[in-house]
């Protein structure tokens, strides 16, 4: 901590220390920390304070000041040590394994194509509330912005193999989900704006008080939030699609505060906690690991039975939509699948079945499992490219 010596002399900070601190802030910015002038100014104040006398308390102080997310928090120590101990390390210090670094190419690609207003920054919700009446028009406009990357959105996901394109498609899937989420939220806001007095009921209720309004009746929002439960087929036949869906779901699940996700192949696994991981790359890796290792075909029927037996009671209510993403190739008994689908249908509000194969030319649901399940499905839709996922939105909004 030699570099901090000038700060030790009192409340004023020497020029060298000032410059070092600016250098440190720059290094952090290079590592994707969001540091503004306010933080730098406060850091100078900290440096001039008694805390700077003790290196042991300076580090946690700067960490609390400069970090804004958990991933910042995890990387800070390494960068701090490298900067203050590695004398004069001025060059860009990108830490190995930094999620930001590994994600960067995909992010950049996507940003190049999609205009800024599709970013859906949270603070925009407030400002744009007045546009709410024209959601449909607005919605169309935004979808167009995504479809500028025509080639990628319409290509069947299994034909995308070039790593750059894969990265770009992943980014698009996440972005699409995010844009969809913002629109769904705004719809919700329109629906429940304001808490208003129900004058008619109020007056009626207070007739017995001689017209003095003692008991008030409020208009209540009747619509309870929708809950979404996703069952994702992670078997071998689906492997080409799984990674894309996971990304898409990661974004969409964010919209539904009450959402649960399960993955199945030969057995069913509850994966909501993994999907809630803010770091998409890590979430996808975790799920990929879970999807591996259990071979031997898909048992949709049995997985559904497990779901009905152990989870349904907890995660399903009358406002729940169940989304099954599978190609319908079941190695179990079709009767079993049919029976479990019937049970599931009775519990929930809607069943959506997304099948990537629908996008294939000349596909008809011939698989016996698919045949058995179809009578209980409310929406049977393709999900082989990003365009087909975008087309789901009106349906999701209507449930």
């Amino acid at each position: 901590m030699v570099a901090l010596a000038p700060a030790n002399q009192g409340a004023t900070i020497g020029e060298p220390a000032r410059r070092r601190l600016a250098g440190f802030a720059r290094t952090l910015r290079d590592n994707d920390f969001r540091i503004g002038l306010a933080e730098s100014r406060d850091a100078l104040q900290v440096l001039a304070s008694p805390a700077a006398l003790r290196p042991a308390s300076l580090k946690p102080a700067l960490r609390a000041l400069f970090c804004a997310t958990h991933s910042d928090w995890e990387r800070f120590d390494e960068i701090f040590d490298a900067f203050w101990q590695g004398q004069g390390m001025r060059q860009r210090q990108i830490m190995s394994g930094s999620p930001a670094a590994s994600r960067a190419p995909g992010r950049r690609l996507a940003q190049a194509h999609v205009p800024q207003d599709a970013l859906g920054l949270p603070d925009r919700v407030e400002r744009r509330r007045d546009d709410d009446g024209e959601i449909s028009a607005d919605g169309r406009g935004r979808r167009e912005s995504a479809s500028r990357v025509e080639a990628l959105t319409t290509a069947d996901l299994r034909h995308i193999v070039d790593p750059d394109e894969v990265a770009a498609t992943h980014a698009l899937a996440a972005r699409l989900a995010r844009a969809m989420r913002m629109r769904l939220i705004r719809r919700e806001q329109v629906r429940r704006r304001g808490r208003r007095l129900d004058l008619r009921r109020t007056i009626h209720r207070n007739v017995s008080h001689g017209g003095t309004l003692l008991e008030l009746a409020w208009r209540r929002r009747k619509i309870k939030p929708l809950r979404l439960v996703v069952l994702l087929d992670a078997s071998g036949s689906m492997s080409l699609y799984t990674a894309f869906f996971v990304r898409f779901l990661h974004g969409v699940l964010d919209n539904f505060r009450e959402a649960e996700a399960f993955i199945f192949h030969t057995r069913l696994a509850h994966v909501s906690p993994s999907l809630r991981d803010r770091d998409v790359t890590r979430a996808v890796d975790k799920l990929a690991l879970m999807a591996q290792g259990i071979g031997g075909g898909t048992r949709i029927g049995e997985s559904l039975a497990t779901f009905n037996r152990w989870h349904a009671q907890r995660v399903i209510n009358s406002r729940t939509a169940v989304m099954i993403v599978s190609d319908g190739y079941d190695t179990g008994e079709p009767e079993r699948l049919g029976e479990e689908m019937r049970r599931l249908r009775r519990r929930c509000r809607k069943i959506i079945w997304l099948n990537p194969l629908i996008g294939w030319r000349d596909y008809s649901p011939q698989a016996r499992g698919m045949q058995a399940a179809l009578p209980y499905v409310d929406l049977f839709a393709p999900a082989h490219n990003l365009e087909s996922l975008a087309a789901l939105e009106p349906f999701l909004a209507r449930i």
Binding site: A61, H70, H270
Partner: protein, 293 residues
């Protein structure tokens, strides 16, 4: 009155809060820079406890705003006492007062119901404002909160602008169910609260469970740390650890190794879902016990 960092850590210890190494610095920095503190971490790591301890340290009132989906200004900031207003209208009409005077009267502070955010800026002695689980509120509310945190004044259309009498110390907590806006993050200092390490957890057990043996507390802390490493749906938090420690103390268990039966059976204190219970079979609990004891 700005406390020194050392004073804060001493006082934290005095109020019975077993602090992790860096939290005292973060709390000191809060005072020093007058910024709110954002605490993130998994459920059950003791984020709320930090705010309680902070209130105890400053002998300040703790005002808590629990966020939930659909939380709006009325519930967070203020509400008019409609019933009293209506009554006032009726009675004053009888006396024959004119409409303007009545209106002036019923929209006065007398009829204003304070909700946590308004209460927090209208105290003579600065309180600690805990905005709990801010990630569960809507983005719209988050933007409003941000405005309040930078200006510390609110405007009530019928009454005018109310400025803060004292600036509260603000602690926000988040479980990460939703990504918070960059603006809010940048406004705040940040501290990530992790599960306590074995030593600290043992200390917490000792402080909170009267009459428990030091060796047993350490064993319990090690065992809980091992359970947390298992693949569970709901990782046990510090509160669960304390429940378990109290249970074991109540059963007069002296040494976990001697009583694997009791250990396994009382683990319902730690495992709160059917799946987790099924996953931690007798064999698993004995294996863990063998490792930690």
């Amino acid at each position: 009155m700005t406390l020194k960092r050392e004073e804060i850590s001493d006082k934290l210890a005095a109020v019975g809060y077993v602090a992790d190494r860096d939290i005292a610095t973060a709390l000191w920095l809060m005072e020093f820079l007058k910024r709110p503190l954002l605490l993130e971490g998994e459920a059950g790591v003791g984020k709320t406890e930090v705010a309680k301890a902070l209130a105890a340290v400053h002998q300040a009132e703790l005002i808590r705003l629990q966020c939930y989906e659909g939380l709006d200004h009325n519930a967070a900031l203020y509400e008019w006492n409609y019933q009293r207003q209506l009554l006032a209208i009726k009675t004053r009409e009888g006396v024959g007062e004119n409409a303007d005077a009545i209106e002036e009267h019923i929209f006065s502070e007398k009829y204003l119901l304070e909700r946590p955010l308004l209460a927090a800026i209208r105290r003579a002695h600065p309180p600690v404002l805990l905005v709990d689980e801010v990630d569960r509120a809507d983005e719209e509310f988050e933007a409003f909160l941000l405005e309040l945190l930078s200006d510390f004044q609110v405007s009530i259309p019928e009454l005018g602008t109310i400025k803060a009498i004292s600036i509260p110390r603000v602690v926000l907590t988040s479980n990460g169910t939703r990504e918070l806006s960059d603006a809010l993050r940048r406004r705040c200092l940040y501290h990530y609260v992790d599960f306590p390490d074995v030593e600290r957890e043992a200390k917490i057990i000792l402080v909170r469970t009267p009459g428990i043996d030091t060796a047993l507390a350490l064993q319990i802390a090690r065992m809980v740390a091992a359970v947390r490493k298992e693949d569970l749906r709901k990782v046990p938090g510090v509160a669960e650890t304390l429940d378990w420690a109290a249970t074991l103390a109540g059963l007069e268990v002296q040494d976990l190794r001697q009583e694997p039966e009791a250990v396994h059976e009382t683990m319902i204190c730690l495992l709160k879902t059917h799946e987790d219970r099924a996953r931690l079979t007798r064999d698993v609990s004995e294996r863990l016990l063998g490792k930690v004891a």
